[in-house]
Each structure stands twice: as C-alpha cells, then as structure tokens.
C-alpha cells in the first residue's frame, strides 16, 4: 500500500497571467493589429465527400479590396500529418469533410474577404458519405481515401482500407479464460463525438520580413505549429517564429498544427500582414481536433468469487477524414476499456476508422472519458451480475501497489485503492438517499508523458529573475508554477520571477500544452536551470563568506553558511557581483523519467502508450438526482480523489480537478455533436451545443493522494491536467443506471435518452 504523504500548506501567489485575464487587459490574437493588415477567410467544402470538378476563383479575384486568393495550386504539394500523412493544406481532387479548406482569401476587410469567398465557384460531384463506424469497416464500404495504400506511415501499425491504425492488447488466453468463467457479461456502449469548445475562437496573424515570417497564433503547441509551417511551406525552422499572446483556453482543441501555414502563405502572396479570426461556427467545424466518437463492445468473464477471469473488447474509434494525432488513440482506448484492473486473460482489438467527418484529435485525455465510461458502466454491470456492491467489486479487482495490470506492467507505489477509499468515504457512500438520488462511482487512470523540454533561467544584476521557456500556458497554470519551482531552488520568492514563454524564437524546445506534460517536463528543465544558478550563487557566496560552497544554503532571499544564519549575504548583492563577470545564466533540460518495461506484453500496433510512466489514478463518486418524469439529471456533489503524485501548487491543482469535472459533466449529460445524414454538423453553435454553465456547478471536493513516485516530474509530480476529465462521466452514468435500473448505453446521456432508457 502506498502512503498518502502529508499535504504541505498551499503556497499562495497570484498567477502572472491572472490579472490580465480577469481585468480584460490581456491581449489575444484577435486583439492584435498591424499596419497594412489584411483579413483572411476560408472557403470550406461545405460537403462531406465529393470529387472536385472545378474551383474557379476568377470572380473573387476581381472584387475590389481582394489582395490574394490561394488554392492548392499556389502552395507546395505536400502531404503531411504525424504517423499517417494523408492531408494537404488545400483540398486536391477530393474533399473528405465539410470543413475542408478549398481556398483562402485575404482582403482589406473581413466583409470583402467573405464576399470573395462566396464568389468562388466550386463545382463537385458527391460521393457516398462514410459516417457509420461499423459500416465503414465492412469490406465493401466506400473508401474515404482510395489511395490509402500509397501513404507513407511511420511506426508499425496494421492498416486496412478505412482502418487508419489498429492496436490490440493480448495477454494470456481470453478464449480459455472465458470458458472457465462462472458467468459472462456483455455490453455495448456508444459515445458521440464532442468538442473542446475553448472560449477563444482561434486567431492567426502572419507577417513576413524578407524570408522570415512571424506568426502570432492561438496554439497550444508552438513548436508543432512551427514544424507544420516549415513542412508544408518548405521553410527552414529558424525562418519561422511562432508567438502565442494570451491563449483563451484550448482543452486540446488547439493542439497540433492548424491554419498557420494558410495565413503565412496568404501574407507572403499579399506582401502584407494577414489576420484570421474564427467565428464560433468555424471553431466547431474546421479544426482537426474534436473528441472522437466511439463504439465499445465488452465481454467479461467472472468467477463467482467476484474476480475477473477474462475480458474481450472491440473498439472502433472515429478518426474522421484525416489523421491528426489520433493514430495512437486505439491503443489508448484499449487501455481504458481494460481499465486499472487485474486480469490475466485479455484480448482487446481497437481500430481507428476513417469517416467523412471532422478529424479527431487530442482533446483533454483523448479517448479516456468515453472508454472509461464504457468500462466503468460495464464494471457496475459486472457487480450487479454478482450481486456485489460496485465499490467492493472495484476494491477487489482494481490494481494496487505491486500488482500487474492488463498489459503486464507491474505497478510500483500507486494510490489507486487509496483513491477509491478517499472519494467514497468523503461522500459517505452507502448513506440513505431519497428515492430519486444515487451515488455512482468510477475509477480511472491516465499516463504521464515524459519528453524532452528546455528552459533558461537568469538572475539580472538586481537579483530579479527571468524564466525563458518554450512551454505554453493553456490555462492550466502549469507554466505559472514554474516560478515557484525556480524560486524554491534559489531560496527566493515566486514573485521575484517573470516568465517569457510561448515564443519559438526565444525559448528552448518544449512539446507544448499537451499531454499534461508541462510541469512534468518543463518543470524538470526549470529546476535544472535554476540549480545551475544556485551553484553559481553558492560559489560567489562561499568566496564572500569565507566558507566552502557546499556549506552554503539559499533561503529567504539570501545565501547563508549552514548552521550560522548570521553569516549571510543577500542574493541581489551576489547578483550584482556576478553581473560584472560570468553572468547568472542557467540552461536546463534534465533527463526525462524512464518508461517502465512491460514483460510479456503481446500488443500489435504499439503506439507507445501501453507502458505508462508515472501513471495517475483517480476515483470520482458522484451524487446525482434524477427527475424520472423527464430524464433530466442534476449532479449535486462530486467527490474526487486523485493520485497525481506530489501536488506542487494546490490552488492550481484544485482548479484542474474542478474544471475537469465540469467538462466531464458536460460530456456526460449535454455535449454531443449531432450530424445530418449527409455528414454535416447540426449543432455548431453554443445554443445547441450545450456546455455546462456556472449555474450547473455542483459541490466538488478533492482529495490528493500524494503517492511518492520516483520516475516522475519535479518532487514526484505526475501532471494533472487531463486525469480529472477521465472518470466523471462514468461515475454519473453509474448513478443514473442505479436510478433507471440499467445503463443508458449512449453518451451523452441526454434527458431524452435517459427517459427512453427508463421507459
């Protein structure tokens, strides 16, 4: 069993971007304007699947005020995308989803640009729309990409026709296990796709100086954006500079490279700065980052003593028309339908399936909320079949320190069982409730993603600090926490540091605000850089205080000789001396924590997410009330427990859990993309795509199980941005199922679907 370590008192400091954001003084891309700037609009296909017969821009080009009109013919013919390169900047020959860009216009006003876009003649012949995941996998299904066999693919993943990638988990012998079982429970769970829906519709502004371009853009991943521009426009990496002013949220929707190259190409052609600002509708339809729809079939063999003997699973994950970063989703989804449980015999097959709809991409904990919802709904069905309390079932079957999971990874020190205990006891699970109320419980897990990252730290002559990092802040507060890490290493105050960030021309490489990795990786880099300065300070102080450098401690803004606090010198005084010679400059990256081995794993199509470094665990217990006459569910109270390792900034950590829970409630109850039969989004607007509001906010309490973790981030932190989004919908589902008498089986569990299930 892991030990829950004492929580340190919360350090309280104002996050550096907070005042800007709440007072409105913060600048976003849409607020920017440059001399001579033009405005961009895109012409979208507007049809889900068609052969292009003609694109005629001549009428658009003659409209006064129109400066540039670009199509596929005007940019290098580059097929891009990580893992499965299958798309171009502009459609060529075939359009494969309604939001595909066929042309881009730059004009003196947004209205003229729109007029020009409307004047572009686009003639096409419709093709059959592929929009059903199961039908798409049939041998005679129409193909989304007829030339799929010609696409270069990196990594080892089986592909077939509309199946872009495939992964399986196989351990033991699922057939034999099933034959041994005392009972077998089966279920199908179908989740709609949904959206990240950040409050800021994205903006991109590009300006060329000679052969170099600067692009201000609302991206979560500046270096990915830069690489995308370089790849598609054939530019050298040091000729492209990506700067992100404030980012108005992302939730994964702004990961990946999106529209930066289109705008850079327009600006180069027009020889003037060009700005794009999306409407809300475009924010829904165009980006290749929405949460994937999914079908999950599960079959579990049980022994009558309440243990799991075998599991079979079949998962279809929607890829959409092009492969953004969804290539690894099947493996991730397979891990989540296996869940954090002990089981010896497992066979799960998961496919990423092309459709003629918007591409899927990493939205906060990709695949996990849906797959966890399926797995955990199924888990409650297992408990019901055994006539066992679902929490007891989880305590019996969930992994604990030292256990082996579904892929054969052996888990060191983990807090899974403690999370179950903490979340359920805080909500008083088992207490008497009114007739229409219930508490549903679900557990979840999520990997940490070690990776390369860099940062500079410097102290200027006055002793004030500057952190220069390639990291990106998407609202999680992780970048803000870097000040705390640097300050702690140097015995200084977080307020003594400013951060220069989200600028590829200035900061060293970082993966960006993705994969909950900022604190884990960039935190390590900042600590490394700050330690170098600490060492410099110790050497200076040792000289001044006539002591050994090893005896100097940095605390309360000064260097002291250990054991004699009166022999001290303030850090600014040391900084002043250093400024005259070798400056106080640290450059850090550190060594990423190692991925664990998984002996005996037998997975096909490994995309690197079967063995999880520093895995995070969670349990949510949700008190719901159901209006049985209408099917409307209200979430009253959510009790969360998370093992995300050491919590470094508790204010930010609680914020992550609360936000994740709200997003989870939305996915559980009201958020789902609806499509017409011809593959178009029907609710691409905030009136019909129902996000949760503050008025819907339940009581949320969080316990952090701070399991000591060695192969993790600074001080044993594992990261926390995605984990809280994993089990909420599942826990709500289990509360509803108790009241309805059976699972709803469709996500979101809208009022109407709940009402139907209870009929």
């Amino acid at each position: 069993m892991a030990n829950a370590t004492e929580q340190k008192p919360a350090p309280r400091f104002v996050r550096a971007d907070g005042p800007d954001k709440v007072t409105g003084s913060g600048r976003y891309v849409a607020d920017m304007s440059l001399t001579g700037m033009l405005h961009a609009k895109f012409r979208y296909a507007g049809v889900a699947h068609a052969t292009i017969d003609k694109i005629d821009t001549s009428a658009a080009e003659t409209i006064p005020g129109v400066v540039s009109v670009l199509t596929a013919a005007d940019v290098p013919d580059v097929i891009y995308s990580p893992v499965v390169p299958d798309r171009r900047l502009f459609a060529q020959d075939v359009v494969r989803f309604e939001g595909e860009i066929i042309a881009a216009v730059a004009a003196t006003t947004p209205e003229i640009a729109q007029q020009a876009v409307d004047a572009i003649v686009f003639e096409y012949t419709e093709r059959p729309v592929v929009d059903d995941l199961e039908a798409a996998m049939a041998p005679d299904a129409p193909l989304v990409h007829e030339d799929w066999e010609s696409y270069a693919v990196t990594g080892d993943t089986p592909r077939d026709r509309n199946v872009a990638t495939f992964s399986s988990i196989a351990k033991g012998d699922a057939d034999a296990g099933m034959a041994e079982a005392d009972m077998v429970v089966k279920g199908r769970y179908v989740a709609d796709g949904c959206h990240a829906a950040p409050i800021e519709p994205r903006g991109v502004l590009a300006q060329w100086e000679g052969t170099k371009v600067t692009i201000w853009t609302s991206t979560q991943v500046p270096f990915d954006a830069r690489n995308g521009v370089c790849e598609t426009l054939g530019l050298a990496s040091n000729h492209v500079r990506i700067i992100v002013p404030h980012l108005g949220g992302g939730f994964g929707g702004k990961c990946g490279f999106h529209f930066e190259a289109h705008i850079a190409a327009l600006a180069r052609d027009a020889r003037r700065p060009v700005k794009l600002v999306f409407s809300r509708e475009e924010e829904f339809i165009a980006p290749d980052r929405r949460r994937e729809s999914m079908i999950v079939d599960l079959e579990t063999g049980l022994r009558s003593d309440g243990t799991i003997v075998a599991r079979r699973g079949w998962v279809a994950v929607e890829n959409g028309a092009y492969t953004a970063d969804a290539a690894f989703f099947p493996q991730l989804a397979a891990m989540h339908v296996a869940g954090p449980y002990k089981m010896d015999n497992v066979k799960i097959d998961a496919s990423l399936v092309y459709t003629n709809r918007q591409p899927s991409g990493s939205v906060r904990a990709p695949t996990a909320p849906q797959a966890c919802w399926a797995c955990e709904s199924h888990t409650d069905e297992l408990a019901r079949a055994l006539d066992m309390d679902p929490v007891e079932f989880r305590k019996k079957n969930a992994i604990d320190t030292g256990d082996t999971g579904a892929v054969g990874q052996v888990y060191d020190e983990i807090g899974m069982q403690e999370c179950i205990e903490a979340a359920t006891s805080a909500i008083d699970y088992g207490k008497d409730l009114p007739e229409n109320e219930a508490i549903g419980v679900a557990i979840g897990w999520w990997p940490s993603f070690p990776g390369p990252s860099g940062a500079f730290v410097r102290l200027d002559a006055d002793g004030l600090g500057q952190i220069v990092t390639g990291a990106q802040e998407c609202g999680t507060g992780a970048v803000m926490t870097l000040r705390q890490l640097a300050a702690d290493e140097l015995g200084m105050d977080p307020e003594d540091f400013q951060i220069i960030y989200q600028d590829t021309g200035v900061g060293p490489y970082d993966t960006g605000a993705t994969g909950s990795q900022t604190l884990l990786n960039n935190g390590r880099a900042v600590v490394d850089a700050a330690q170098q300065i600490a060492e410099q300070l110790r050497v200076h102080a040792a000289e001044q205080l006539e002591a050994a450098a090893g005896d100097i401690v940095l605390v309360d803004g000064a260097a002291h000789v250990a054991g004699s606090p009166d022999r001290s010198i303030p850090i600014p005084a040391l900084a002043e001396v250093a400024a005259e010679g070798e400056q106080l400059l640290g450059k850090g990256s550190g060594t990423p924590p190692a991925y664990p081995d998984i002996p005996g794993m037998n997975c096909v199509g490994d995309q690197g997410v079967a063995a999880w470094a520093a895995p995070q665990f969670s349990c949510h217990a949700v008190h719901v009330r159901l209006d049985p006459d209408t099917g409307v569910t209200r979430v009253l109270n959510v009790s969360c427990a998370h093992d995300s390792g050491t919590i470094i900034n508790p204010i930010a950590a609680h914020g992550q859990v609360e936000g994740g829970v709200m997003m989870g409630i939305g996915q559980a109850l009201t958020e789902g993309t609806q499509y017409s039969d011809d593959g178009r989004q029907l609710n691409a607007a905030l009136l019909e795509y129902k996000l949760q509001t503050f008025a819907d906010l339940p009581t949320i309490t969080t316990a952090f199980i701070q399991t000591p973790t060695t192969e993790a981030g600074p001080r044993g932190a594992k990261g926390l941005a995605e984990a809280p989004n994993v089990p909420t919908a599942a826990a709500i589902a289990n509360g509803i199922a108790k009241l309805v008498g059976q699972p709803v089986r469709k996500l979101p569990m809208t009022a109407e679907r709940v009402w139907e299930a209870s009929q």
């Binding site: 209006d627 006459d629 109850l669 029907l682 609710n683 509001t693 819907d696 009022a751």
Partner: protein
Amino acid sequence: MSDPTFTIATSVDDALAALANGARPIAGGSDLFVGARQGKAPLPESIIAIDRLAELATIEATSAGTRIGAMVNHATLMTDPTVVADFTAIADAAALVGSPATRNVGTIGGNVMNGSPAMDTGAPLVVLGATAHLQSQNGSRNVTLDELWIGPSRTSAAPDELCIGLDIPARPERSGSAYVRLEYRRAMEIAVVGAAAHVALDDSGNLAEVSVALTAVAPTILAVDGLDSLVGQSVDDSTLASVAERASEVATPISDLRASDAYRRHTVGVMARRAVDAAARRAQGEQIAVPVNRALGIGASA
C-alpha cells in the same frame, strides 16, 4: 442600398413617427441583433431605438388591472413586488431567461413582439388573460395574444404599430399562477417545452378557474382548451393527470436538435401538471419562491 440608419427615440411620438417612416423598433436588441448575427434575417435598413423611453419602462395600476410597459426588462419582472405577488408566472418565466446579462437587456415587449413559440413570458401572459396595447400615429388598440401571434416570429401588428405595454386584468381572489420549463441546464437555456397555469379556487378549495398555455409545442404559444370539465374538481392526482393528458394531446410539437416530438409531447404534459400544481398551491397561499423551476426542482434542477 441606402446606408442603414439608427435613431434614438426621445419620445413615444418620435418613435411612432419613425415607425410610420418604415423604421423597425429595437428595445434590448437581444433577439433582433443576435438573430441578424446568426443570419436569421438581415438587420433592418432603418432602426429606431426605444430603450430610452422611460414611460415604457413602468409597471402601473390601470382601471382594468395592471399595465406592464413594453420596455420593462426581465430582471425587473422577476423581482417587481406587484409582478411577483399577482402575476407570479411572469416572474417565474423572466427569472429563467438567458443569463443576468440577457435579463437586464431583454424586455417583455421584445419577447412578445418577437413572437417566438419558445418565448418564456408568452404562456404566462396568455393564462393571465393579457392583451397587448399597440399604438400607431393612427390610434391605439388592444389585441389578444391569440390574435397577435399568427405564426413563428410573425405577429398581426402593423409595421407602424408600437407595443406600449401588456395589460393584465386584476387577479381574482384565491388565485395563483406558475410557469415551469423543461431545461437541460440551468442558465442560457431555451425552452425545450414549457407550461404556464393560472388557477383560481372556490371557497371549498376546488377549481373555480383553470387555464394552461404551452411553450414550444406549436407554431405559437398554445392555449390548452377543454379544461372546463375540471372546474369544480379538487386539485388532486386525477385532476393533474387530466391536465397532463390534455396538454400532451393538444400539443403539435416538432422534432429538432433539442428534442423529438414524442419526448416533447410527453414532457409538456409533465410541465403542465407541475404548473397547475404549483399555481394551485400558490392560490392556497403557499409561498413558492420564484422561479418554480428552482424552488421545486423542475427537471431535477433544485
């Protein structure tokens, strides 16, 4: 195309003159402008703003009852003592509109004249027997709401007629009203379905008057007929079941993104039953705070 014009009226006469010249009135703009931005209809060429006409923003006793000025906003309707005490269903409805910002901007005149079948103050006004007071340079008239609304977003008012206010007859003794709405979330919601009820009780506590109107289940707000047989009955389960059944029966809902017709037909009955129940309890003197949706947890939303 001539340049669009935007004029601010400083008097009702000003406004009427502008309307006679082809201008469209704008009150809070929360339907007109938002609709234009969504591409429902382009902005009118000529707009006359009536939001500074203080004389249209009052709630006053008249010989026949009460006049709620067209410019009274939802934030006022949900808290005004007269509205809360005597026309409680209107306060219930106003309290559910959009967000605090929407309620401070949106007006009852705009809500009524916009004529959406999903408008929230519509069903309460119908059950309370309100008429719209319209005025043009040629004179004024009162029209029943049934005459006013002729289709989705269509009214029988002439383009040069300004809605001055809504006239509501005095409330009978031992009466109460309520409005409930089915909502999937607790703010920024549009009625999936809704129902208003007005109930007056006789000395023995049985129904003396009962009227019910429905939101978002027909091309316009729908008054439920055929409830006369309930007069004289007590407000018990079987009476409420008849209300629900009748409401579901007369509804002609559509299927759209928000709900299927079958689900709407079912839930509008549930809403009607709950509205009558709450109205009757208020008629008996029970204090049910505005809005009923929050007080009683309609749609599990307490």
